[in-house]
Amino acid sequence: MREMRYLEAMREGLREEMLRDDAVFVLGEDVRNSVRGLTKGLFQEFGAKRVYDTPISEAGFTGLATGAAIAGMRPVVEYQINALVFVAFDQLVDQAQKLRYMMGGQGTIPVTYVVMASGARRGLSGQHSDHPYPLLVHMGMKTVMPATPEDAKGLMKAAIREDDPVVIFAPSALLANKGPVPDGDYLTPLGRARIAREGKDLTIVALGPLVPDALKCAETLAAEGVSAEVIDPRSLLPLDHDTLLRSVRKTGRVVIFDDSNRTCGYAAEISAVVADQAWHALRAPVRRITRSDVPVPFSIALDTCVLPSPERLLEACRASVKETRT
């Protein structure tokens, strides 16, 4: 299979959908010159009517995408940084996400929002490092976060074809990663988790940029004689409860490795699902390694106390397998 970078695979998915359906168009800041790389070459290939550079008016252009979608288009909105989700929040969750319901099920709003370079990047500090996927999930917005190049392309294509608003988080930590990408037209369906590694003693649920670290942790554990299963939900809403619960029922132990804040974060939701649905299978308390509830600080010296670290994941996994329930 071909090897591609995450960002290239995502771009290929977008380009294929633009070729396939002339209702698909892109709008966002600096997308013609493609500062973020997602839209590189698309303006040259598809022209002015398919790739719009917007002013720095996130709420405004998010609203335009909603109106255009109701009128039959399939806009792809690029948010240049993750904080733009906050700037556009009303138009995202109160308008795009709610309108179909509030209109009694009339119409469709097929907008794809790509949150570029989401999550922490070294030295960018508090307003450029958030990973607010739980906020969107909380409001009922379909939300995905691919962890591999294959899924970056497959979920991009699936999101564009979905007849509802879908937010894609494209974590900065993954954009340059290489991996195998199948040829041709394939979709990664929403609502299906990926078992990134099979195991029988412990389940690690790892989100987006943390999947590679979780896999390394599983390697280390294997050397210690512990067989860890790594689940990459990749579709955060809808969440694939079946794959998650099947794994937890098999292993009886779960550690969640999540790049969102602790309180009401995504790990909190997964914990609750596990506690509700797999309580009898649990042999250890559900453990969460998440961000601490502070903005990401500037100094790298402070990072380790804030961002979810592979070391803490490893400790939590070791602690989990030591637990015995009498």
Binding site: A59, G63, Q95, M102, G104
Partner: protein
Amino acid sequence: MNASDNQLVGFYRCMRLIRRFEERVVELVNRNEIVGTTHEYVGEEAVATGVCHALGVEDVITSTHRGHGHILAKGGDPRRMVAELMGRKTGYNGGRGGSMHIADLGLGIYGANGIVGAGVPIACGAAMAFKQRDSSRVAVAFFGDGAINQGVVHEAMNLACIWQLPVVFVCENNGYGITASIRDMSRIQKLSDRAAAYGMPAETVDGMDVRAVHAATTALVARARAGGGPSFIECLTYRFVGHFTAERALGLKYRTEQEVAEWRLRDPIATYPLWLRDQKLCDPARVDEEVEAQLEEAIAYARESELPAPQDALQGMYAVTYPGLPARGW
């Protein structure tokens, strides 16, 4: 372009329908047949009527929290509107929206909206789709004098101008955003002056004069259809009643009785039919009777309509559904 005789009569029918619709709604609110509160369009009928009669069914509007008038003027069915206000299954939104959210996509009504200013970029988005598809359809964004200070409205005006979208911004300046006088909220006298900042033509018209509103809108809609881009109309108008039906109970005093009385002298429902009769265009009393019958029927229809089943509350959020979505609360 002057309105035809038929249109002139149509204006009256529409304004009268809006006025009586709102009055009947207040009765229903007071009798608790409608839950919550509604924002009446009483006094402003000439604006929605003049604007929407300059549009075709294929054209799109976005409306506001004070939306009944816009929806009726765009052809909304009073039966399904009252049914929505009464939370019935047959209501426009199946009981999920209520007064501030009535929508009929088939009539180009992309919804009233509970968030002040939020519909404005949505109208521009429809206009963007029309332009993209080389269609001659246009969009109209209704919003108030309060909304003119909302950031997203300005973002949308600028976006419409840079992309020359076929959209007409209709600012209904009724002088107040709840209790806040626009005199205190803006240093400029004419809100239409703000349009110049984005590079589009603007007019301020007498919003109590349906023919003036219609003529101005017709010209600007034609301009947008021909590829001339966006424009802005400020309609000077007034609401004769409180901000919402609940206002009476609050005893707010932010405008004088004299001010209200002066504006009431210009009530389009009172002045316009006199003119129509003078012109021998119709007998307004006949129209009034027809409107009464129509509303009587609408209310009866809503009352007879079924309530939705509780489990319907989980339907319609997603066009594409998945197991367990939306999650239940228990």
